[in-house]
């Protein structure tokens, strides 16, 4: 494994522009992070924080109203932002794959499972039908679908939610990608099925040396699965660093409040730490730090000036004036 990171996102900004160009939403604003082969990054945030737009920007799958306005996405040394649509098509599904939240919406109800699992192989690698189906059977086995010989000939509606999500997983790994982006992959699954699926993803990661990006609102998934975390708020990564560090000593008040607001199993009825107010509307974001209206420790400075990313410790950054050097 080379020392160079597999993925290097450098001050990436994606904006949504209204049709008349009068309103601009900075959905992703100067986001930077790096990811090495075999590592797992968790991108956490609430709805509207820009986490899904970030994932779509990496794959250049943005809706027409959205545009990457700055920054670079270096994947294996090449900048994806400057690639042509044709080049991107050869990368998607082959070197970078994605798993979406709802498996029923990402599978085509009119094609058999075998057709759908073998499609990327036929498209990207020109594998012949027979050989591709053979691979499909092996892939279904790899994602632990019982009786794969029979299941390849069946349709998505004949399977349970957990099985469908595993099939989506099989499609994602079919071309042995280097990076897998999973956007809320287990939200529609039951608790024990979720545990099965997370275990499967971790096994696949280990076997193939995959790098994983988990887009989620669930800190529990981050705690279980990830090596590093990027916490997003109002389009920006407000805190990033190694997972243990972020959970044990978060530097940003938002991260702190998120970590404190999750109930712990085995605690009795007691008050939870709640965050007052609501996430901001990105059409008219607050001045200064976007979190200041909800922040219990806001200073005067926070209302006026937007904090840059300060290094709290090596590899641990926070966009908060409290983390500025010299602040007690």
């Amino acid at each position: 494994m080379a020392d160079r990171p597999l993925l290097e996102v450098d001050r990436l900004s994606t904006h949504y522009v209204s049709s008349r160009g009068t309103r601009v939403v900075r959905a992703v604003d100067e986001v930077s992070f790096t990811l090495r082969a075999g590592e797992t990054l968790g991108v956490v945030g609430e709805s509207g924080s820009g986490k899904t737009t970030l994932a779509l920007s990496l794959l250049r799958l943005l809706p027409p109203a959205a545009r990457i306005v700055g920054g670079a996405v270096r994947f294996e040394g090449e900048d994806l932002v400057t690639k042509s649509p044709g080049e991107m098509r050869r990368i998607r599904g082959r070197r970078i794959a994605m798993i979406l939240q709802d498996p029923m919406a990402s599978l085509n109800p009119l094609f058999t499972v075998g057709d759908q699992v073998s499609e990327p192989l036929r498209v990207h690698e020109g594998t012949r039908r027979g050989a591709a189906w053979e691979r499909a059977r092996a892939l279904l086995k790899a994602v632990r679908i019982p009786a794969p010989e029979q299941r390849v000939r069946e349709y998505p509606h004949q399977m349970s939610g957990g099985m469908r999500q595993r099939i989506v997983g099989a499609i994602a790994i079919s071309c042995e990608p280097r990076l897998l982006i999973a956007d809320e992959p287990t939200t529609s699954l039951d608790v024990t099925i979720q545990a099965q699926y997370l275990r499967l993803l971790r096994d696949l990661q280990r076997e193939h040396g995959l790098a994983l990006i988990f887009i989620t609102h669930n800190l529990g998934i981050v705690a279980r699965m990830c090596d590093t975390v990027a916490v997003m708020y109002a389009g920006r990564v407000v805190e990033g660093g190694p997972v243990r560090r972020i959970f044990s000593s978060p530097a940003h008040p938002y991260t702190q409040a998120l970590v404190d607001s999750i109930p712990r199993l085995g605690d009795g009825p007691a008050r939870l730490t709640a965050i007052d107010g609501q996430p901001p509307d990105l059409v008219s974001p607050p001045t200064g730090c976007a979190f200041h209206p909800r922040c219990p420790r806001a200073l005067d400075r926070c209302r006026q000036e937007e904090p840059p990313a300060f290094e709290v410790l090596a590899a641990h950054t926070a966009r908060c004036w409290l983390a500025a050097p010299g602040t007690p």
Binding site: E46, S47, P146, S160, G162, M163, D190, V191, T192, I193, Q194, A195, Q196, R199, H217, N218, L219, G220, I221, A223, R224, V243, R244, F247, S248, A257, L258, S261, I262, P263, R264, L265, G266, D267, G268, P269, A270, R271, L272, T273, A274, I275, D276, Q278, P279, R294
Partner: protein, 342 residues
């Protein structure tokens, strides 16, 4: 669980008691809609919800928790079994008793985007139950509305706005205000925070805790987020394929689950910190269809500790280690007679 039928109103008094509730949905097939078996959604379930306390119901899709909630809300009629309200059987209550029950048992649902009529202003939404059920002078209605808005932490000017002008968390507050309009004794909370953002969930859970303390409400709390249920509940009922497999004090069950299914379920719950490592018990396969549940203990085909007996005999819910468990593992000396004839 405490003895039912204590005096009304005081904390710990049984508000609603379910005895051997059964709900089967017939499967109809063919031209003449002949009955072809039944989905046993809820099969012999008993519990008590007490004033000022929360009964949490956990389980995966198809375990019957939502059907149980519907039975309590009288949105479904039970196939068998009975519901007691403040110690009196619902069947014995007249039409007046029924309408009293309906007023006393209210619900808050998962999706505040679907549960509020977009064409009604907040005051009309919150006051609708009051206007339909009681004849009150307008001044009294207005006073009640103000009190309800204060109670759930909404500004008074919210009354004149429409639901779309509120965020998800605020909408859920509106839904809670509506549920409280008739001063109910029991509120059924069906996944009340799952549709909300993480930073808003704690606000709503705290609000529910405060309201319970203030008003002595009983809650039937249904959710798939185990930590949230364990946090909110005094008692937890774990359901699997239409049956309660474990029932007891929330902390006892959450910290030291006894039924193999509860153990697997709680081991699969996500940690709140990366250092919180639990032994993962991965269950093979998926939940079987409730239309054709396995014989014996319904969990036995997936149970890591199944014995021969589990495939034959149905275990009854019986006291073990400070809670009720329905599992042959906790059968003293294996001497108990096979209970619960099917």
């Amino acid at each position: 669980m405490t003895a039912p039928g204590r005096a009304n109103g005081q904390p710990g008094a049984a508000v609603v008691e379910a005895r051997h509730l059964v709900k089967h949905f017939p499967i109809r097939r063919g031209l003449f809609a002949r009955s072809a078996g039944a989905v046993r959604a809820v099969d012999d379930v008993s519990f008590v919800v007490e004033a000022g306390r929360t009964l949490g119901v956990v389980g995966e899709s198809g375990c019957g928790k939502t059907t149980t909630a519907k039975l309590v809300l009288r949105l479904e009629q039970p196939t068998a079994g009975e519901i007691l309200f403040e110690g009196r059987n619902l069947v014995d209550l007249g039409p007046e008793g029924h309408s009293h029950y309906r007023r006393s048992v209210q619900a808050v649902f998962q999706d505040p985007y679907a549960s509020l009529n977009p064409r009604m202003r907040v005051d009309a939404i919150v006051m609708e139950p009051l206007v339909t059920n009681e004849t009150l002078p307008a001044a009294e209605v207005a006073a009640r509305l103000r009190r309800l808005l204060d109670l759930v932490g909404l500004p008074r000017r919210a009354a004149e706005l429409f639901p779309h002008e509120f965020s998800g968390g605020q909408r859920q507050r509106i839904a809670i205000a509506r549920a409280l309009a008739l001063s109910p004794r029991l509120v059924v909370l069906d996944e009340p925070v799952s549709a909300l953002d993480v930073s808003i969930r704690a606000q709503i859970l705290n609000l529910l805790t405060d309201l319970q303390r203030e008003l002595g409400l009983a809650y039937l709390f249904i959710a798939h987020d185990l930590a949230a249920v364990a946090h909110m509940s005094h008692t937890i009922a774990v359901m699997y394929l239409g049956k309660i497999v474990e029932l007891g004090d929330a902390r006892t069950v959450a910290r030291d689950p006894k039924h193999p299914y509860t153990q697997a379920l709680f081991s699969a719950a996500l940690p709140s910190h990366p250092d919180e490592v639990r032994e993962e018990i991965l269950l093979p396969g998926e939940v079987p269809s409730p239309a054709n549940p396995p014989a014996g203990c319904r969990f036995h085909p997936r149970c890591p500790q199944a014995m021969d007996r589990c495939a034959r005999d149905v275990p009854a819910l019986a006291p073990a280690a400070g809670r009720d468990v329905s599992c042959w593992l906790y059968d003293p000396a294996g001497a108990r007679a096979p209970a619960g004839a099917r």
